[in-house]
């Protein structure tokens, strides 16, 4: 690690410390329906939106109605995105002619399973991408289908979090707010203004924003190079701010047109964390004790710093197998050293490591370096970050309701230890609340581990594989063999398992980043990862809205000398311990088969050569054959 690198990380965090309170207080005002400095401008727009949608923003909803509105909104969102993708060949803003007879030769077809996967992905705030944007999607699809969901899915997340917070803030009422009011306020007052400013900052740094067809230039050495164009900056800003992560281009935020300079990069990482950090303050404000919010902030900050320095340390240490070949490992003033495979020169090791950590602490999933090429323990950090259910500040909204779930479990454990009924923020945590928290927590763990296990062993016989999971590799295996789903990984050995584990972890936790070597645009992966995204989103979110609804009906018990304080260092420690313990207990066996064993093998010089496992399997042995 270099002094400069550490300073870059501290600058990033220092800026967040400054924005947390003002933005958090502003959001508290917005969601309590009070006037803000943007009200004169946006108030009329907001009222028009309610009128056009035919909703009454003051009609308070019980948790079941709130969740019903949220689900209905998500269902139509899914249908819109699916239909626009499938019809993009007939829709405007398609200069490259994707999904038409004039499509470029290397274009990817928008099949039903890919459209399902992508629609699910963007509606659930995951932004897992089984396609390569520049070779698949028209500008219209990017703007009017995907970028819209970058706003909408983020607003849904914020709404759900605010609903849950109201459960703690209110007492003896059955209602937890109005979904439509929360959703529109999040979009109009929080997401749109910040995204507009951020998009222009990104353009000023060099991100593109146009509707031109792709350019073709003759390079200095006389070759032809096609340079894609498009409305990039507008989507880029909300992609980061909404912790969505789905880039216009395949290379995501590593692509110079998405993320052109180190300053643009800093802006992007800040955009990921700016709303989640501020929401901790909003939470404190709404429950009437800002110390509660800062305690959560502190707990998240501890886990963030632990993660970022582990990644930075191991990435700067580099890959011994490359150092042995005569590559420079240590940083100097004129070159970055370390593990530069998959990283951009302008970002170097520190800014890339910071991005890796932040994008997986939150449910963002944008990448400015390729996670598949991280050294094993540096790759362990993003995997574990996701597996904590992304509660290290977390995604917009999704982070806060996940955090509150862990807080409930933490006080429950503390209650067991001292033998008192657990309380959080004056609310007694009883059987129903703990059950709801456990449903949410187990849903994601189960989803990750089961899907990873199934894809590790499932095998298709040749005929079925032609549709479900066409054999990968060059040359293609002989048509008599069977094809395991695991044959789609790009790296052999434990790293291949890490790719599979990461894929289902990323899908379930609605992150969307990938160990991207794995081939996932097949019906098998599109459907299973699509299901994982749906389960990870709604089986996690709905129980927690229910938890909020249940809490809203309870009386607040007065603070006594026996009350366990949840704003001090003891609670911070307990919270961190709970998160780490649960993630470790659930996932240690899986992690030891992937990144942990790979670390030791890398240092012993063991390398893996790709052999298509299709050839080594016996036909007709799998579940699906």
């Amino acid at each position: 690690m270099t002094a400069n690198g550490v300073i870059q990380i501290l600058i990033f965090f220092g800026i967040l410390l400054l924005t947390t309170k003002p933005l958090g207080a502003y959001m508290a005002k917005v969601f309590e329906g009070r006037r803000t400095f943007l009200s004169p401008l946006l108030g009329p727009v907001e009222r028009v939106c309610y009128r056009l949608c035919g909703v009454n923003p003051d009609a308070e909803q019980r948790w079941t109605q709130y969740a019903g509105s949220l689900l209905a909104f998500s269902v139509f969102s899914f249908l819109f995105v699916y239909v626009i993708q499938r019809l993009q060949g007939w829709l405007p803003f398609n200069p490259q002619g994707f999904s038409t007879a004039h499509a470029p030769g290397n274009a990817t077809a928008m099949t039903p399973d890919l459209a399902f996967n992508t629609a699910t992905s963007f509606v659930t705030n995951t932004n897992w991408q089984a396609y390569s944007g520049e070779a698949t999607l028209s500008y219209f699809t990017q703007m009017a289908a995907l970028a819209v969901q970058n706003f909408a899915s983020a607003a849904v997340g914020i709404a759900a979090a605010i609903a849950m917070v109201r459960g703690f803030a209110r007492q003896q009422v059955s209602a937890i707010g109005n979904f439509w009011a929360d959703m529109w306020r999040a979009t109009l007052y929080v997401l749109l203004p910040i995204a507009t400013v951020a998009a222009l900052v990104l353009v000023a740094e060099g991100a593109i924003q146009n509707f031109k067809p792709y350019d073709t230039v003759t390079t200095l050495e006389g070759a032809k190079q096609t340079i894609p164009q498009g409305p990039v900056a507008s989507q880029e800003a909300i992609k980061m701010l909404g912790t969505n992560g789905g880039g216009i281009f395949n290379a995501n935020s590593a692509h110079p047109y998405e993320n052109p300079t180190p300053f643009a990069n800093l802006v992007q990482i800040l955009l990921i964390f700016i709303v989640p950090t501020a929401l901790t303050y909003t939470f404190g404000k709404m429950v009437g004790d800002t110390r509660q919010g800062w305690a959560i902030f502190a707990a998240c900050a501890i886990m963030f710093f632990a993660g970022v320095f582990v990644v930075y340390h191991y990435e700067q240490a580099g890959n011994p197998n490359l150092t042995n070949l005569g590559l420079q490992a240590s940083a100097t003033d004129t070159q970055p050293g370390g593990n530069m495979e998959g990283k951009e020169t302008r970002f170097g090791i520190a800014a890339s490591s910071l991005f890796v950590t932040v994008t997986t602490d939150a449910s963002c999933g944008a990448v400015n370096s390729m996670h598949d090429s991280l050294t094993p323990l540096a790759g362990l950090v993003p995997t574990v970050n996701l597996q904590t259910d992304e509660v290290i500040f977390g995604g917009v909204g999704a982070g806060l309701y996940g955090i509150l779930m862990y807080a409930v479990i933490a006080v429950f454990i503390a209650g067991l230890m001292v033998g008192r009924t657990p309380e959080y923020l004056g609310k007694k945590i009883e059987s129903k609340e703990v059950k709801m928290a456990m449903v949410a927590m187990i849903a994601t763990s189960l989803c990750i581990l089961c899907f990873t296990a199934i894809s590790s062993v499932v095998t298709f016989n040749w005929d079925k594989s032609q549709y479900w999971n066409p054999a990968q590799g060059n040359p293609k295996p002989a048509p008599t063999s069977s094809v395991p789903a695991a044959a789609n990984v790009a790296n052999d050995g434990p790293h291949g398992f890490s790719e599979l584990l990461y894929a289902y972890t990323s899908g379930t936790e609605n992150n969307g980043s990938a160990f991207a070597g794995i081939t996932v645009n097949t019906p098998w992966y599109n459907l299973t990862i699509g299901l994982a995204m749906l389960m990870g989103r709604f089986l996690f979110m709905i129980p927690l809205i229910a938890l909020g609804g249940s809490l809203a009906g309870k009386k607040k018990t007065p603070v006594t000398s026996g009350t366990f304080p949840t704003h001090g260092p003891l609670f911070v420690g307990l919270f961190v311990g709970t998160v780490v313990l649960i993630a470790a207990l659930t996932f240690f066996p899986a992690l030891s088969l992937g990144p942990l064993v790979e670390h030791f093998l890398m240092h012993s010089g063991k390398l893996f050569t790709w052999v298509a496992p299709a050839l080594t399997h016996i036909a007709n042995s799998g579940v699906w054959s």
Partner: protein
Amino acid sequence: MWKQMIPAFRAVLLITIVTGLVYPGVVTGLAQALFHDKANGSMLTDNGQVVGSSLIGQNFTKPEYFHGRPSAAGSGYDGMASSGSNYGPTNQKLIDRVKADEAAFRKDNPDFTGPIPADLLTASGSGLDPEISPASAQAQVARVAKARGVDAGVLAKLVDGHVEGRQFGVLGEARVNVLMLNMALDQQFPVKK
């Protein structure tokens, strides 16, 4: 939930118009007015001819040009296929590629000794990285100077002039834009044909 279907449908339609058409439209209008060149791709021209973008790397193989980093985008710097190699650290292919590139680099640059800067033999995340580290540029100076028949010291100064330091002195890493450096080379020290 069923009663919510009509407001839900309208809300999705409305948010599509607001954030899917109005928002990108407004941003495009402002971007085109305020930052016209950047919004359109930071294109570089030579005698009125567009030769590329300062942000998108190009494939350089001739000895008289500075070379960029290995690229996993298509067959190399393919704008339609931005991608990293996605090789894990224990992948034999990664080691084989670096080994081959290292041998080729040593052969082409016999005057350079010492460890090779890490960025020069590793594939970037985008496959379109327009830049290399200053050390990676200096490592190629002797070769380029010989191929162009100019003094290595003069060329080293040209490279120094093209170094862009950390942004605001702290952010990111120092770097050299390969395409812009090579355009300057062609202008100042054209290859004798």
